[in-house]
């Protein structure tokens, strides 16, 4: 008999999301937004390590709830992030956003606690659909299009994940994460799927496309989950895979260039998010207790400090109606509390000693030096200077200080301030108590971040980088915020020539799709051009029904491959 201890805490959030979707009463939605994540957190803390909720389906044993050191830390971070996001959104508690946000968080948590690849895949797909609902939150033409593009990319990753799971199950006769190897067919395809979710270089564009188009509340719910779930998957299955080190190094460097000149502060934060993921991917690639521990510690800290930065910029957006740095400045006069909390988030992401980012990045740097990976170490040190430029100084400076924009908005609503205060407190608590976080890591690490050499090196680097920022501002070499967009790899999908090429590809794919057989047709009837998804508002907002053809083909191919290998 299945008891409470078998209940995956993610299901509580999904149930909460469904209640929000059905509830016409804002009071009930507000209650659920706080109660559901709190209940999930209680379930996580109260559960015992081991495998719970075992069931059988598709002739495989599925483990719906596996709790170990790794899933505990990620699950706890997700529960707290959902709780903080819930508090942050209380003044609004929009039906679509509340429901989507809780289901999104629930899907992430369900996937983190999944003990097998099929359960993991289901959680990931729940996240993809609900994430599109969050992006759609503002209900504008722009957000509908972005939601469509987001859904396209996420379903593409989901299709690849399904194919990888099927290949792995066929080859290994197992659905365990531990059987994955990146140089096997199944493992390679799953790595590609996780790479899309993790915003690997070249497939990173969906982050900067979708997150800034969600509402202030929506972005706070989007930022912690999808990419961190991908990091969890990489840690679980690919720790120590050398291939991840150069990928992570590229992720550290190139987003800094975009973030430095980006005008939209939420897009700056999105690029910054990719940059931070790069540090984590490097740590996973280095492997070992220090590398993996550093990546996991950074992921845990990142959930809160990046959430805090999105909250701060979101509060500004909520009050002024803009997040463009060219239209902001001097907001300290009327939003001082938001300014302070944002500066705490900026200090944490910049790895200022006594804040959370410092204790995680110090562990990662030691992991690189421990294996004599000097070029990786230099990338991380110089990358840290870049982080200071765009996230540590630029965002607080251009928003709250700098040139006075003349705007005098009200301070953020009380619930937003409360969520920001709690996030800031977590950033400081972790910074002051590094051993608390280290003791929760999957493998024990012996590391002391507050040594003279660590603190001195960091202060030296940060102070000289800050002086360089001042010199560049005063000399006029630092870019002045301008109302422009920057071309990125999504140009290949969104420009006119690319769309024309896409239309031809769709015709070719339609012929291919028709040949896939009954499985393909039945899937296509749901996902394809005439199916319910294609007829939905979100899908019509996508780059075109070409995407539906792609997804249908990949899903159908995945299922066909799976069926052929099972027998």
């Amino acid at each position: 008999m299945i008891g409470l201890e078998d209940l995956n805490p993610g299901f509580v959030l999904i149930l909460g999301g469904l209640i929000c979707a059905l509830s016409p009463w804002i009071l009930l939605r507000q209650l659920v937004l706080v109660a559901a994540p709190a209940a999930a957190a209680v379930l996580i803390v109260g559960a015992s390590y081991g495998e719970h909720g075992m069931t059988e389906a598709l002739r495989f044993n599925l483990i719906l709830f596996r709790l170990d050191e790794l899933s505990y830390l990620f699950g706890l971070a997700f529960a707290l992030a959902a709780l903080l996001g819930g508090v942050y959104s209380l003044h609004k508690a929009d039906r679509l956003e509340s429901a989507s946000a809780l289901i999104h968080a629930g899907g992430a948590m369900a996937a983190v606690f999944a003990g097998d690849l099929v359960s993991f895949f289901l959680g990931v797909e729940v996240m993809a659909l609900s994430g599109a609902g969050i992006v759609l939150g503002p209900r504008t033409k722009d957000s509908a299009r972005a939601a469509g593009r987001y859904l396209t990319v996420q379903l593409l990753a989901g299709g690849l994940l399904a194919a990888g799971v099927a290949l792995t199950a066929g080859a290994e006769r197992s659905l365990d994460f531990n059987t994955l190897r990146w140089d096997s067919w199944g493992g390679g395809v799953i790595l590609l799927a996780l790479g899309i979710k993790c915003a690997f270089p070249g497939v990173h564009f969906w982050v900067k496309d979708a997150y800034p188009r969600a509402s202030a509340v929506g972005a706070v719910f989007l930022a912690p989950f999808t990419t961190k779930l991908a990091i969890y998957g990489l840690v679980r299955a690919y720790a120590g895979a050398d291939i991840l080190i150069p990928i992570g190094a590229a992720m550290v460097i190139f987003p800094i260039l975009y973030a430095s000149i980006e005008n939209d502060l939420r897009r700056t934060l999105s690029y910054s998010l990719v940059n931070q993921l790069g540090f984590m991917v490097i740590g996973i690639g280095i492997g070992g207790p220090a590398g993996v521990g550093g990546a996991v510690a950074l992921a845990f800290c990142h959930v809160f400090y990046k959430g805090l930065l999105f909250m701060g910029v979101g509060a500004v957006l909520e009050r002024t109606g803009t997040a463009k740095s060219s239209e902001l400045g001097g907001l300290w006069r009327t939003m001082p509390a938001t300014a302070i909390f944002t500066m705490i988030g900026a200090a944490a992401i910049s790895a200022v000693p006594l804040f959370s980012g410092f204790i995680a990045k110090s562990l990662l740097l030691d992991a690189a030096t421990g294996q004599a990976l000097w070029w990786v170490w230099i990338v991380m040190v110089i990358g840290a200077a870049g982080v200071l430029e765009h996230a540590g100084v630029k965002i607080p400076f251009l928003t709250f200080f700098g040139k006075d924009s003349g705007k005098r908005p009200k301070e953020a609503p009380l619930n937003m301030l409360l969520a920001m205060a709690a996030s800031a407190a977590i950033c400081i608590f972790i910074g002051l108590n590094p051993q608390w976080l280290y003791s929760l890591l999957p493998a024990p690490v012996q590391h002391e971040p507050y040594t003279t050499s660590h603190v001195l090196a960091q202060l030296q680097m940060l102070s000289f980088a800050a002086l360089a920022f001042v010199a560049l501002r005063r000399s006029g070499l630092h870019p002045t915020p301008r109302d422009v967009i920057l071309l990125d790899v999504d140009w290949f999908a969104r420009s006119r020539p690319a769309k024309m090429a896409g239309a031809w590809a769709v015709r070719a794919l339609s012929a291919f799709e028709a040949a896939l057989g009954s499985v393909g047709r039945s899937l296509s009837s749901f996902v394809g051009a005439e199916g319910p998804i294609a007829r939905s508002r979100v899908w019509r907002g996508a780059a075109g029904n070409s995407s539906a053809g792609w997804i249908a083909a990949i899903l159908a191919a995945a299922v066909l491959v799976g069926l052929s290998t099972f027998h």
Binding site: I256, Y258, P336, I378, E411, A465, R494
Partner: protein, 107 residues
């Protein structure tokens, strides 16, 4: 009606704080002449002290991280290089804000 105007008859008198008062309590010193200069001086002081302590420490055998002033160079050079490269990138990649919308709206 201004924020500190008298409330209508019969309603309790509420003290409505000027929105800018809260900000001035925390950051009002920024408006004093020379405040930014002192911030820069403080930053410079931290930089110089960190270099001085670094020089006084006995050198430890190891990689390039044990070189005197390495982190100062990495911080200043790294940030400057990123900003200058970003400016070049801006020259190449910046487009009007409605660059994609024109194509998106085309049937």
């Amino acid at each position: 009606m201004s924020k500190n105007a008298k409330p209508p008859k019969g309603q309790p008198k509420l003290h409505v704080e000027d929105d800018e008062d809260a900000g001035r309590k925390l950051f009002g010193w920024l408006e004093r002449p020379g405040a930014v200069f002192y911030v820069i001086v403080a930053l410079g002081a931290v930089a110089i002290i960190s270099l001085a302590i670094d020089a006084m420490r006995s050198p430890t055998p190891g990689g390039i991280d044990s070189l005197w002033g390495f982190y100062a160079l990495a911080g200043a050079f790294g940030l400057t290089a990123f900003v200058l490269l970003a400016r070049l990138l801006e020259f190449l990649l910046a487009r009007a804000p409605d660059y994609y919308e024109a194509d998106d709206d085309r049937p």
